[in-house]
């Protein structure tokens, strides 16, 4: 019963949401709305940053100078997305240090896809094509999310994402037109990244714990299954064009629905990776932890220098 009793503020808040008004940092908001956003935005920011690792793994081995420059710029963009999102999350009254600490403590999550290894050059293609492709589908939808700073950072990020997806697909196009070994490399990457990419959209709507309230608050604008379907439909066509086979024997065009049907997603794998037991979970977190610890003396030096010089300039004044 108590849940049904809404304060006047909450009623007003929902009215603004229903009228498609954006909520801004200084506006009143329910504590749960704020917490949900912090969880989602920090998870998004951490994903951008942890996602730099599998691709960064190939920066020194990119096969041409042109590809090396593209990949450097791409990975740099992802770090930039992390920065926008951390600052957008900070408008909710939490600091970047706290967010990073939650990541290190294992409290905050990041996209489970980044716990899979980038083993071959084709994986860099598959990541750009599928992982950035899935991210775009999600982020386009989030451009209309109800929290103003989040929506605006999505607009900015989406502009860069289409370049990411194109460079990945371009790698796959080139490989699939290449030697027998290159084609096999491309197919193998698709085989390994297909299902984890579908899992990026989260559990089916019926199983999704946070979805109903998030939809009501318009933090989410489309459901997990709707977004996943959009991604499947576009990717199947793209695979077709370059002669790669989606690793799903049950995949079939459904004329009634006007969409592709797919086989069953292995949710036990998803649960395992989310829980921290995927192929690279430990390395990803350890890497982030180690780098953060190694950088401590640099951050200390900056702080010490600034303190000294502030002191000196105050004395001089």
């Amino acid at each position: 019963m108590s849940e049904e009793v809404k304060s006047e503020q909450e009623v007003l808040f929902q009215k603004r949401i229903d009228a498609e008004e954006k909520i801004e940092p200084k506006d009143w908001m329910p504590e749960k709305y704020r917490q949900t956003l912090i969880r989602q935005m920090s998870q998004h920011a951490h994903s951008e940053v942890i996602g730099m690792q599998p691709e960064g793994n190939w920066l020194t081995r990119a096969p041409t100078l042109h590809r090396k420059c593209i990949l450097l710029a791409k990975v740099q963009d992802e770090g930039g997305h992390g920065l926008y999102l951390y600052s957008a999350a900070e408008t909710l009254g939490i600091s970047r240090d706290e967010l990073v600490k939650a990541l290190h403590d294992g409290v905050a999550k990041y996209a489970s896809i980044f716990n899979y290894p980038a083993l071959t050059w084709a994986d860099i293609g598959a990541i750009g094509w599928l992982v950035d492709g899935a991210a775009i589908v999600n982020q386009i939808s989030l451009q209309r999310t109800s929290y103003g700073p989040y929506a605006r950072s999505m607009v900015r990020i989406c502009k860069e994402e289409s370049f990411h997806q194109r460079q990945g697909y371009q790698i796959m196009v080139t490989l699939s037109q290449g030697s027998h070994e290159q084609k096999a490399m491309a197919q193998d990457a698709l085989d390994r990244f297909w299902w984890p990419s579908l899992m990026m959209f989260g559990p089916h709507d019926a199983e999704s714990a946070h979805s109903a309230q998030s939809m009501k608050w318009k933090i989410k604008r489309q459901s997990n299954d709707q977004l996943r379907q959009k991604f499947i439909d576009q990717s199947v066509k793209q695979a077709d064009v370059i002669g790669l086979k989606i690793p799903d024997p049950a995949l079939k065009w459904n004329a009634d629905r006007g969409h592709y049907d797919i086989g069953a997603i292995d949710w036990s794998e998803f649960a395992r990776v989310i829980k921290g037991d995927g192929p690279c979970n430990r390395q990803r977190l350890q890497h982030h932890n180690r780098v953060h610890a190694e950088g401590a003396w640099v951050r200390d030096a900056v702080a010490a220098y600034e303190a000294k010089h502030k002191q000196r300039s105050t004395r001089a004044a």
């Binding site: 940053v49 730099m52 690792q53 960064g56 920066l59 020194t60 081995r61 990119a62 096969p63 041409t64 100078l65 042109h66 590809r67 090396k68 420059c69 450097l72 710029a73 990975v75 740099q76 770090g79 930039g80 992390g82 920065l83 951390y86 050059w121 790698i171 080139t174 490989l175 037109q177 290449g178 030697s179 070994e181 290159q182 890497h287 780098v291 190694e294 950088g295 401590a296 003396w297 640099v298 951050r299 200390d300 030096a301 900056v302 010490a304 220098y305 000294k308």
Partner: protein
């Protein structure tokens, strides 16, 4: 008069300098002390790899033998690379990276300022772009020298150690071999020996502002222009060239 072979070798050297340093800088991606700095280091890496592409592209144009920018990066062995050694030294810690960058930036800015005046129009154009990048690189690296040198005891000591470990490689920056002399005489290249006094003056001023000591000139290692490298270069190449070597002759 300089001939085509001489020009090609000269341009190739500059390509090697740029690629090898760009590669080292790219090793900072997702390893920076904080996110903003991670991205800034990637920016500098991109500038250097971009330079390598321009120099190698020009090399291929001079050679006119069907080679491309990638032929020079991916299909040559350690002894064929002719970069100055300071560029290839392993990444090291952040103090080492910034110390190297500062010493190289002071040199490169002065070098590119001269190369802008080259009678070779392509080299002059590349130098024009590189000079602008170097202005920004030097501003950044100088500010890091000051902050680390005059930061904490630990940062000061790390930076001083890095400068000490790098110092013996700086002499090579100002060496003039026969090719350099020919190129300089023809107003195509740069008389690097003439840049040394001003470099010393600038570096001394910055290091003393940063409460650091200029090391004594008591050891010198050179040989890069002759293909005599540190052992680190071979490992860099085996990493960088892996795909082109494992799957030769493919498009990527």
């Amino acid at each position: 008069m300089i001939d085509k072979e001489q020009l090609k070798e000269f341009v190739l050297r500059l390509g090697d300098d740029s690629l090898v340093l760009g590669h080292r800088l790219s090793q900072w991606s997702s390893n920076g002390p904080f996110l903003e700095e991670d991205l800034a280091l990637t920016n500098v890496a991109l500038d250097y790899v971009g330079r390598a592409r321009m120099f190698y592209g020009y090399t291929a144009e001079i050679a006119a033998d069907g080679s491309t920018e990638d032929s020079y990066a991916y299909n040559r062995d350690c002894r064929d690379f002719t970069n100055l050694l300071i560029h290839e030294l392993p990444r090291g810690d952040f103090a080492f990276t910034m110390a190297r960058q500062y010493l190289v930036d002071e040199f490169s800015l002065a070098y590119m300022k001269r190369l802008k005046l080259s009678r070779d129009k392509t080299l002059a154009a590349i130098a024009e772009k590189a000079y602008k990048e170097d202005l920004y690189h030097l501003r950044r690296s100088t500010s890091w020298i000051l902050r680390l040198g005059d930061g904490t005891t630990q940062s000061h000591d790390r930076l001083q150690n890095a400068i000490d470990d790098l110092w013996g490689y700086t002499t090579e920056l100002f060496e003039m071999d026969e090719l350099d002399q020919e190129m300089s005489k023809a107003d195509v290249g740069v008389d690097v020996a003439s840049l040394q006094p001003e470099w010393i003056r600038q570096v001394t001023a910055t290091l003393s502002d940063a409460t650091l000591t200029v090391p004594a000139n008591d050891w010198v290692v050179t040989g890069g222009r002759k293909g005599i490298h540190t052992e680190a270069l071979g490992h860099m190449l085996s990493d960088m060239q892996f795909l082109q070597r494992a799957y030769p002759g493919q498009q990527w």
